[in-house]
C-alpha cells in the first residue's frame, strides 16, 4: 500500500547535495549539535573546560578579548567564551523540544480537522483562530511568569503557542490527500481510521511537515532569546546566549563584546537552520515550485 519511498528520497538527497549553501548550513547545524552535546555533558558533569563558566574573578572583569579570555570577560570577570559554549545547548534544546511539542499538537489537531472535515474541522479551526488571536508575546510573558522561568517551562510555553501554523498546514495536506485514490481504496478495504491517518496519509505529508519543523527551530531559538532579553528567559547563573546579552546590555557602551558575540552566535545558528531548512524544502518538493 505504501507509495514507493526510496526513489523520491534518493532524488531529494541528490538535489540537496547539489545545493552548496544548503550543505554548508547543514554542516554548521551539525557542528552546532556536536558542540551543544559535548558541552551539555561537560556542564552537567561540572567539568571546567575551557574554564569554569561560573567562576567569578573580579580582578579580570569587563576585559576585552585577549589571549586568556578569547572573547573577553563579563561584569563579574567570568570567561565569555566558556559561558557561551556551556550555554549553547540551552538554545538548541529549547528550539528542538519546543518544535517537537508544537508539532505533536499541530499534527493531531490538523490531521483530525482535515480528515474529518465538517463540524469537527469548523470547531477546531475556530480554536486555531482563537489561539492565533492571543497576543502571543504577552501570553508567553504571563505564562512564564505564572510557571516560573525554567528551561522546561519556556519550552512548553513556546510549544503551546506556536502549533497553529503546523495545524493549518497539516489540515490542508489532509484535505487534499484524503481524496486521493489510495486513501479511498484503504477506506473501501475497511481499514481503521487511525491506521488510515497515520499509515497512509501522514507519511505522504511528511515532507512539508518536516520542513516546517526545521524552519520552526530558529523561530523558537529567537523567541527564547527575546524572552531572555526581557528577563523572562532561563535564569542566571546558568548562561544562555540570550541572558548573556540581557546582562551585557547594561554595559553596552563599555563592553561591546558582551553583546556582539552571543548575538552573532544566535544569528549564525538561526541562519544555519533557516538555510538548511530551505535547502531541504527545495530538495523534497515534488513540483519545482509550490506555495
Amino acid at each position: 500500500m505504501n507509495p514507493p519511498a526510496q526513489t523520491p528520497f534518493r532524488r531529494a538527497v541528490k538535489r540537496f547535495r547539489r545545493n552548496r549553501l544548503g550543505m554548508l548550513a547543514l554542516v554548521s547545524v551539525g557542528g552546532l549539535f556536536v558542540i551543544a552535546a559535548v558541552f551539555a555533558i561537560l556542564s552537567s558533569a561540572d567539568i571546567p573546560f575551557p574554564s569554569n563558566p561560573n567562576a567569578t574573578n573580579l580582578e579580570r572583569k569587563l576585559l576585552p578579548p585577549n589571549p586568556i579570555n578569547w572573547l573577553g570577560t563579563d561584569n563579574l570577570g567570568r570567561d565569555l567564551f566558556s559561558r557561551m559554549l556551556h550555554g549553547s545547548y540551552i538554545s538548541l534544546t529549547v528550539g528542538f523540544v519546543a518544535v517537537t511539542v508544537s508539532l505533536c499538537i499541530g499534527i493531531v489537531i490538523g490531521a483530525v480537522s482535515g480528515y474529518f472535515g465538517r463540524w469537527v474541522d469548523n470547531i477546531l479551526m475556530r480554536v486555531v483562530d482563537a489561539v492565533m488571536c492571543f497576543p502571543t508575546f504577552f501570553l508567553i510573558l504571563t505564562a512564564v511568569a505564572l510557571l516560573g522561568p525554567s528551561m522546561f517551562n519556556i519550552i512548553i510555553v513556546i510549544g503551546l503557542v506556536s502549533w497553529t501554523g503546523t495545524a493549518r498546514l497539516v489540515r490542508a495536506e489532509f484535505l487534499t490527500l484524503r481524496e486521493t485514490e489510495y486513501v479511498r481504496a484503504a477506506k473501501t478495504l475497511g481499514q481503521s481510521t487511525p491506521k488510515i491517518i497515520f499509515r497512509h496519509i501522514l507519511p505522504n505529508a511528511f515532507a512539508p511537515i518536516f520542513v516546517t519543523a526545521v524552519l520552526g527551530i530558529p523561530a523558537a531559538i529567537l523567541t527564547e532569546a527575546g524572552l531572555s532579553f526581557l528577563g523572562f528567559g532561563v535564569q542566571p547563573p546558568q548562561a544562555t546566549w540570550g541572558n548573556i546579552i540581557a546582562d551585557g546590555k547594561t554595559y553596552l557602551l563599555d563592553a561591546w563584546w558582551l553583546i556582539v558575540f552571543p548575538g552573532l552566535a544566535i544569528f549564525l545558528s538561526a541562519l544555519s537552520f533557516y538555510l538548511a531548512g530551505d535547502a531541504l524544502r527545495q530538495a523534497v518538493e515534488t513540483r519545482t515550485e509550490r506555495k
Binding site: L58, K61, N75, G231, T250, L252
Partner: protein
C-alpha cells in the same frame, strides 16, 4: 526614497543638535504614577513634585530643617496632671510657682489649674522637664495615665471603633493608631478596669489573636504642639492665594480613607489641627513623637481646586495636571516619554532662569546613558562601572556624595540555620565586602556599619564593620559544629549548610552581590543557590510571606532615626518590614524611647545604642553604603540663587550635603544669561 529621507533626517537632526533650548532635561527610569504629594510614595514622583509643590518645611543644603511656606514655627508642649481632688491640684500649682527660678531651665511658660487638673505649658516638647517637675510634687495625690496597646494586624480601626461603641462607652482619653497594625489607648488610673473590659470585648468578638497589654504608666499626659505662621506672599499657579485653609485641607485629605494616602501614619499622631486665621496653623499631637515635625515636609494641596471633588477626579484630572505653588508649573505629561514643567513667572522667591524643566522617562540604565551621551538629557546618575571613565574626561563634571541608603543580606532568623550568631558572624567574615566595593562599585562607597549610614548625624562612627577574614569564618563555623562533608560543603547532624539567596530582577548591583556572596561562601564550605524573581513575585510570594532563607536588599531612608517599622519585634508578621524576624526586647525599648526624645544629644546617644545592639546581633550582613554619582556636561549650567538678603549669588554647580541638585531650580545656562539680574556682568569668566 526611504534611504534618502532617512539620510536627510539624520543630517538634520545631527546638524541642529547643538542648539540648546533654555531648558534643563533630566533622564529618569522610574516614572511617577501620579503627581500628588499625599498619594504618591515613590522617589520618581517626589523628583518632579519638588518643582511643583511646596511644603511648610524642608531640608536646607546641610540637611537641616528650614522653613519654606511657613514664615516661622514654634514648638511647645502641654503637660496635664490629674489629682485626686481640686485641693491637691491647687497645692501642686503653688509648689511649682514656688520654684519659679527653675522655670527657664524647665522651659516652663505657665501653669494653671482647672478643677482637679493641672495644665503646664512648656516652650519645648519633651518628657524630661515634666518629670523633673513631677518629682517635686506629692506623687500620692496624682492619678497616673496608663496606656494599653493592642496588636491587631491591620484591623486596628475596626476593632477600636467597635470597642468605643460599647454601652456605656469606655472612658478613653486618648487613642492612637500605629500604622493600623496596632492601637494604643490611654486611660486615667491603673487601666486594669479598661483592660478587663477590652479583654472581654475581644473574647466576645472572637478576636483571639489580638492581645492588649499595658505598655506605659505615666504620672502625666504630654501633648506636644507646633504653631506655624504662614507666608503671605505665596500664590498658587492659578493665582489664588495660599492660606491656612490649604494646610488644613491637605491634612484632612491625608486622613480621608478614600484618598488612601501612604503618608497617613505620620499624621495619625495629630490630635487636632486648627486654623485660627488664614495665616496661622495650630497643631496638637497625641503624644511626644519627635520625627513628627519632618512630616510637614509634605507638599501641600490647593483646597480651592480639590475640595469636594471625588477621588476619581483627583486621579483623572489633578494628579495628571497638578497645581502647586512651586517655581515651575506643570505643562504636559506624555506617558512613557516626557513630563514638562514650565517657569512660574510669579514665583514668590522670584522666577527661575530656566524656561522649562523636562523629565524624560527611559526604560533602563543603558537608554539613560545613551540619552545623556547624545545630549538629550543634561545629567546622568552614572553607573558605577563608568565613573572612572567619566571622571577623567574633561568634557564632564562628576559629583559624588554618599547615598541615603545601605545594602545588606538579610538572614531569615526563623530558619534554624541562621539562629546561631556564630554562623551569621562567620558569614560576615567570609564575604569580601571591600572587594565588592572595589570592583562592583569601583570604589564609590563605604562598608556599612549598621542600620544608619555613617554620614547621618546620629550614626555611631565608632562601630567598626566586620573585617573580611575567611580564617575566622572557618573557625567560627567549626565552633558552631558545622564540619566539612564529603563534597566540601559543611554539615551538622546530617544537615547540609546550604540555603537559597533570593534577589529581585532588574537590579544589576544586587544580582552581582548575590553571585559574589555565593562564590565567597562557597570557599568556606557553604552552598548558596541564587534565585532571581521579578519584583511582584519577589515581594508577594517570598518577602511578605516570610518564606525565604536569605535575601539581598537595600533600605533607602531619609535622615530618619525612627527605625521602628524595620526592627521592632511587633513588626515581624507577614507583610511587615521586620521580615527577617529580629526580636530583641532591649532594642524594642530603645526604639520606642528614641521616638519620644526631642533633645539631639540624647537622640544621638540612643541611636548609637540601637545601631550597636542590632549590629552586634548581625541579623543582616551589612554590606555597603554606595555613593550617588552624577555627571553633567561641563559648564552647561551655573547657579544664580537668592542669597537670603534680597540679592543673588552666582556660583558654579557645586555639591552640597543634600546633593548637587539642591539648587536645581536656580540653574541657568550660561548662553542664556541675559535674563539674570544684572545680565552678563554677574558671570565670572
Amino acid at each position: 526614497m526611504l534611504v534618502v529621507i532617512l539620510v536627510t533626517a539624520f543630517l538634520t537632526v545631527i546638524s541642529f543638535s547643538s542648539d540648546r533650548k533654555n531648558e534643563l532635561t533630566i533622564g529618569s527610569i522610574g516614572e511617577p504614577t501620579r503627581l500628588n504629594p499625599i498619594q504618591s510614595a515613590e522617589s520618581s514622583a517626589s523628583e518632579v513634585q519638588q518643582f511643583i509643590f511646596e511644603s511648610l518645611l524642608h531640608f536646607d543644603e546641610n540637611l537641616e530643617v528650614e522653613t519654606l511656606l511657613a514664615a516661622s514655627y514654634t514648638q511647645s508642649q502641654t503637660t496635664t496632671l490629674r489629682f485626686q481632688d481640686d485641693a491637691s491640684a491647687a497645692t501642686a500649682l503653688s509648689q511649682i510657682e514656688a520654684a519659679r527660678d527653675s522655670w527657664p531651665q524647665w522651659t516652663l511658660q505657665e501653669g494653671h489649674v482647672d478643677g482637679s487638673t493641672l495644665l503646664l505649658k512648656f516652650s519645648l516638647p519633651g518628657l524630661d522637664a515634666s518629670e523633673s517637675i513631677f518629682a517635686l510634687l506629692d506623687a500620692q495625690a496624682t492619678l497616673p495615665f496608663t496606656t494599653l496597646r493592642a496588636e491587631t494586624g491591620g484591623k486596628a480601626r475596626q476593632v477600636l471603633t467597635a470597642f468605643q461603641a460599647l454601652e456605656p462607652p469606655p472612658t478613653i482619653i486618648r487613642t492612637w493608631f500605629d500604622y493600623d497594625a496596632a492601637f494604643e489607648i490611654t486611660v486615667i488610673g491603673d487601666g486594669l478596669a479598661c483592660q478587663t473590659r477590652l479583654d472581654e470585648f475581644l473574647a466576645a468578638q472572637k478576636l483571639t489573636d489580638v492581645t492588649a497589654k499595658v505598655i506605659e504608666t505615666r504620672p502625666f499626659l504630654a501633648e506636644p504642639m507646633v504653631n506655624f505662621l504662614l507666608r503671605r506672599d505665596v500664590r498658587w499657579h492659578d493665582g489664588e492665594p495660599f492660606t491656612s485653609r490649604d494646610v488644613a485641607f491637605t491634612y484632612q485629605s491625608i486622613m480621608d480613607e478614600s484618598v488612601a494616602s501612604p503618608r497617613k501614619p505620620d499624621f495619625d499622631l495629630i490630635q487636632s489641627l486648627t486654623t485660627p486665621n488664614p495665616h496661622e496653623v495650630h497643631i496638637t499631637y497625641r503624644k511626644p513623637y519627635s520625627p513628627a515635625l519632618n512630616s510637614w515636609m509634605i507638599g501641600l494641596l490647593p483646597a480651592h481646586i480639590l475640595k469636594d471633588k471625588p477621588i476619581a477626579w483627583w486621579n483623572d484630572q489633578f494628579n495628571r495636571h497638578p497645581v502647586g505653588t512651586g517655581p515651575f508649573k506643570f505643562f504636559n505629561w506624555k506617558t512613557n516619554e516626557s513630563l514638562r514643567l514650565v517657569r512660574n513667572d510669579d514665583y514668590w522667591q522670584g522666577a527661575p532662569w530656566l524656561e522649562a524643566v523636562v523629565f524624560r522617562y527611559l526604560p533602563d540604565p543603558v537608554s539613560i546613558r545613551i540619552a545623556f551621551m547624545t545630549r538629550q538629557t543634561d545629567f546622568w546618575g552614572v553607573d558605577p562601572w563608568a565613573v572612572a571613565a567619566f571622571r577623567d574626561d574633561p568634557r564632564f563634571q562628576v559629583f559624588r556624595y554618599p547615598a541615603n541608603q545601605y545594602n545588606y543580606v538579610g538572614w531569615n532568623l526563623r530558619n534554624p540555620l541562621f539562629q546561631d550568631l556564630r554562623v551569621r558572624t562567620a558569614f560576615a567574615h567570609a564575604v569580601n565586602v571591600p572587594e565588592m566595593i572595589k570592583y562592583i562599585l569601583y570604589g564609590n562607597g563605604v562598608q556599612s556599619n549598621g542600620i544608619f549610614p555613617p554620614h547621618f548625624w546620629f550614626s555611631d562612627p565608632d562601630l567598626k564593620p566586620i573585617p573580611y577574614d575567611p580564617a575566622a569564618a572557618t573557625r567560627l563555623l567549626d565552633e558552631a559544629g558545622w564540619v566539612p562533608g564529603a563534597d566540601g560543603i559543611r554539615e551538622k547532624d546530617g544537615k547540609r549548610l546550604a540555603f537559597t539567596l533570593i534577589v529581585n530582577q532588574g537590579n544589576e548591583v544586587r544580582k552581582d552581590i548575590a553571585t559574589l556572596v555565593q562564590d565567597n561562601l562557597h570557599t568556606v564550605g557553604v552552598e548558596v543557590e541564587v534565585a532571581i524573581y521579578e519584583w511582584a513575585v519577589f515581594i508577594s510570594r517570598f518577602i511578605n510571606k516570610l518564606e525565604f532563607d536569605a535575601t539581598v536588599l537595600g533600605w533607602s531612608t531619609g535622615p530618619d532615626y525612627d527605625a521602628y517599622q524595620v526592627w521592632h519585634s511587633s513588626q515581624t508578621n507577614p507583610g511587615q518590614l521586620n521580615f527577617v524576624g529580629f526580636d530583641d526586647p532591649d532594642v524594642d525599648a530603645l526604639l520606642a524611647q528614641i521616638r519620644q526624645e526631642y533633645d539631639p544629644v540624647k537622640i544621638k546617644a540612643l541611636a548609637g545604642q540601637i545601631q550597636k545592639a542590632i549590629f552586634e546581633d548581625q541579623p543582616y550582613l551589612f554590606l555597603f553604603v554606595p555613593d550617588a554619582t552624577s555627571v553633567i556636561w561641563k559648564n552647561s549650567f551655573r547657579i544664580c540663587r537668592p542669597d537670603g538678603q534680597g540679592g543673588f549669588v552666582d556660583t558654579p554647580v557645586e555639591i552640597t550635603k543634600a546633593g548637587w541638585s539642591y539648587y536645581m531650580q536656580w540653574f541657568y545656562r550660561p548662553e542664556f544669561s541675559d535674563n539674570l539680574p544684572g545680565g552678563r556682568e554677574t558671570l565670572q569668566p
